[in-house]
């Protein structure tokens, strides 16, 4: 990332917010901080590290980012961990567990010079978790950062991983509901969006118009958009039902269901087929299967929307909600998980439990355009205060200060 990212963020989040970061980071200047994960590109963790690490460097912290290497069997094992930590019953063979542990030993040897002397090490998700055990002469504090929903893990997987994690000095979870019993402080840091990324940056009106035209969306008629994988937990069929119920009263309504990356997921393909079947007879429903890097297209669709839906039945955090709110759209979201933290019922959108509830709120919002716009404005300000990258960075810095000072629940810096 280019130097001056903080300067760019100051124009969006406010100069005082960035000044606050500088002050908080002052005692951390020169500190060696290492982040470790399992991939340099692709996925939310790599996306956030690509921003957090250069931002920390801009603040004078000697931050670096290391990536562990593994063979195909290692990634098969960690993929199973990922699924089973999120509740899927996915037993892992002893052979794969051995591969996991051997890969940990090899990576610890390769990274030892960096990890051993670091003041702070952040290990992201389970893949690199064994590194701590194999870095016996470590000097600094080690933190395990869990990015996934482990509220109801498949117990054998958690039981296997817990001893690796228990040795850390602290862990970080996105929500209190995701935290697990571990013998160290468990910090809570919700994720955030980057307002400068392709997904969220301002777009020229012509680009939004071009996306509308490309997908046959009428700019003169009201538009609902849901951006999510074709997954039953995202309830796309429920969204279509809500749209149909509302359409009785709003005959010009259009709906876009946009998602990507379902091709290697048999369940995803089945859901997509159901969605296509359910929408076949209605030319105003646009089902869009987009490539994983279609960030600008998604951005344009969210900006083209009047109202955005995220009618999930179960959700980890659901950052698409903040993405939409940042674009000034009220969000009708499922009353679950992290959506509850982002959608303030009746203020930045509505929380609903059924397609009927969603339909009622759609009708309400389109019956009062001023209210719709006022909610959208509130939604954007709410994200500005709470869900921008600057807030996440602030919480990381506060954690870094308290961990390295080790001064209890009140740390005074001068």
């Amino acid at each position: 990332m280019t130097a001056g990212m903080l300067e760019s963020l100051a124009t969006i989040a406010g100069r005082d917010v960035v000044e606050h970061l500088h002050q908080l980071a002052a005692p951390l200047k020169g500190m060696r901080v290492v982040h470790v994960n399992s991939t340099r590109v692709g996925g939310g963790v790599a996306e956030i590290l690509a921003k957090l690490v250069p931002l920390k460097r801009e603040l004078g912290i000697d931050a670096s980012w290391e990536v562990i290497a593994g063979e195909e069997e290692f990634y098969r094992c960690t993929k199973s961990f990922h699924n089973s930590l999120q509740g899927t019953i996915a037993p892992v063979s002893d052979r794969l567990l051995r591969v996991f542990e051997e890969t940990g030993v090899r990576n610890a040897e390769a990274l030892r010079p960096v990890l051993q002397d670091a003041d702070l090490v952040f290990i992201h998700d389970p893949q690199p978790a064994p590194l701590l055990r194999h870095t016996p002469n470590r000097k600094g504090k080690w933190v395990w950062r869990c990015h996934i929903d482990v509220s109801r893990p498949y117990r054998p997987t958690w039981k296997y991983l817990r001893p690796f994690l228990a040795e850390y000095d602290a862990s970080i979870f996105s929500l209190a509901a995701f935290s697990q019993s571990l013998p160290h402080p468990e910090y809570l840091i919700p994720p955030s969006i980057d307002p400068l990324s392709e997904k969220n940056q301002e777009l020229p009106q012509e680009e939004i118009d071009a996306v509308r035209e490309r997908f046959g969306i009428d700019p003169m008629r009201p538009l609902l958009v849901q951006v999510s994988r074709f997954d039953r937990f995202k309830d796309p069929i429920g969204v279509i039902r809500a749209y149909r119920l509302a359409k009785t009263f709003l005959p010009y309504l259009q709906l876009v269901l946009a998602g990507g990356g379902a091709t290697d997921d048999p369940e995803g393909n089945a859901v997509l087929a159901e969605v296509e079947e359910a929408s076949r007879d209605d030319p105003d429903i646009h089902v869009l299967l987009l490539p994983p890097d279609a960030h600008r297209t998604i951005n344009a669709l969210q900006r083209a929307a009047d109202v955005v839906l995220q009618k999930s039945l179960r959700e980890g955090f659901g950052l698409t909600v903040s993405e939409a709110m940042w674009k000034g759209k009220p969000v009708i979201g499922g009353d679950t998980g992290g959506i509850r933290l982002q959608v303030v019922d009746h203020h930045t959108g509505f929380l609903v439990s059924t397609p009927e509830g969603a339909a009622l709120r759609i009708r309400y919002l389109f019956s009062d355009r001023e209210r719709l716009q006022a909610m959208g404005r509130k939604a954007r300000e709410f994200v500005r205060e709470n869900f921008l990258l600057t807030r996440q960075l602030r919480e990381y810095l506060a954690l870094m200060v308290t961990l390295t000072r080790g001064a209890g629940d009140r740390v005074e810096l001068d």
């Binding site: 000044e19 606050h20 509901a177 809570l188 709470n386 869900f387 506060a398 308290t402 209890g408 810096l413």
Partner: protein, 224 residues
């Protein structure tokens, strides 16, 4: 004019950030909430009353503390929510007083109801505690008349530190502004009286900042 620059200890503007930490304690029903309240760290009670000011929250929540919000949204007990919602932490002395008041209200409700109100599994009350990091902004005010402009430009973290946090560490349980002005003699009594009338509990930090700045402007002039 009256207050000499040399005799005044400067007002040092500080800022703070809160870290939220899961305690691992969760309540599924009202009795469990009561039981955990009896043993939970006072920091956790502080967080659930005041932490909302510095974390994702909205400018006009229905309930200003997490216990009342949980009673309403998860236990579906509006009577309990109202009784918990009216508890004002500034009236309870210290956090132990606040703890006792909470337990008293909950026990009263438990004695009234035949069934213990319970929440769905994904609506448990998760007790959280906080750590606070306080840092120097390197801004000093050498005279009260600088307050008008300075408060308008303060971060929300500074407002939290000087208004909310101050009440748990100043001898008279007042904000840092009144503590400073009080040391400067009776000249600022009227100003202090107006500052004392500001309700920090039923306000957001942003509104609090505006209110303070207006009061300073009224008494001291300056500002925009």
């Amino acid at each position: 004019m009256g207050v000499s620059r040399l005799r005044i200890q400067p007002f040092i503007v500080r800022d703070c950030a809160l870290s939220a930490i899961a305690t691992g304690k969760r309540a599924q029903n009202l009795r469990e909430l009561r039981d955990h309240l009896q043993t939970v760290d006072p920091d956790s009670i502080y967080y659930h009353f005041w932490g909302g000011l510095l974390r994702p929250s909205f400018d006009d929540p229905e309930y200003k503390n997490d216990f009342a919000a949980w009673a309403f949204h998860s236990l579906h007990d509006p009577a309990l929510a109202e009784r918990l919602g009216i508890i004002d932490p500034t009236d309870c002395g210290d956090l132990e007083g606040l703890r006792a008041e909470l337990i008293d209200v909950i026990e009263e409700r438990l004695s009234e109801t035949e069934l213990v109100p319970w929440a769905k599994p994904d609506r448990q009350f998760a007790f959280i505690r906080s750590q606070i990091v306080i840092f120097n902004t390197h801004r000093k005010l050498s005279h009260p008349r600088e307050l008008t402009k300075a408060t308008a430009a303060m971060s929300l973290g500074s407002i939290f530190f000087h208004v909310i946090d101050a009440r748990s560490r100043t001898p008279d349980r007042v904000d840092d502004f009144r503590a400073w002005l009080g040391d400067l003699g009776p000249r600022y009594d009227d100003l202090c009286r107006d500052l004392g009338a500001v309700d920090p509990y039923l306000n957001t930090l942003a509104n609090l900042r505006t209110d303070l700045s207006l009061i300073f402007r009224k008494h001291l002039g300056g500002g925009r």
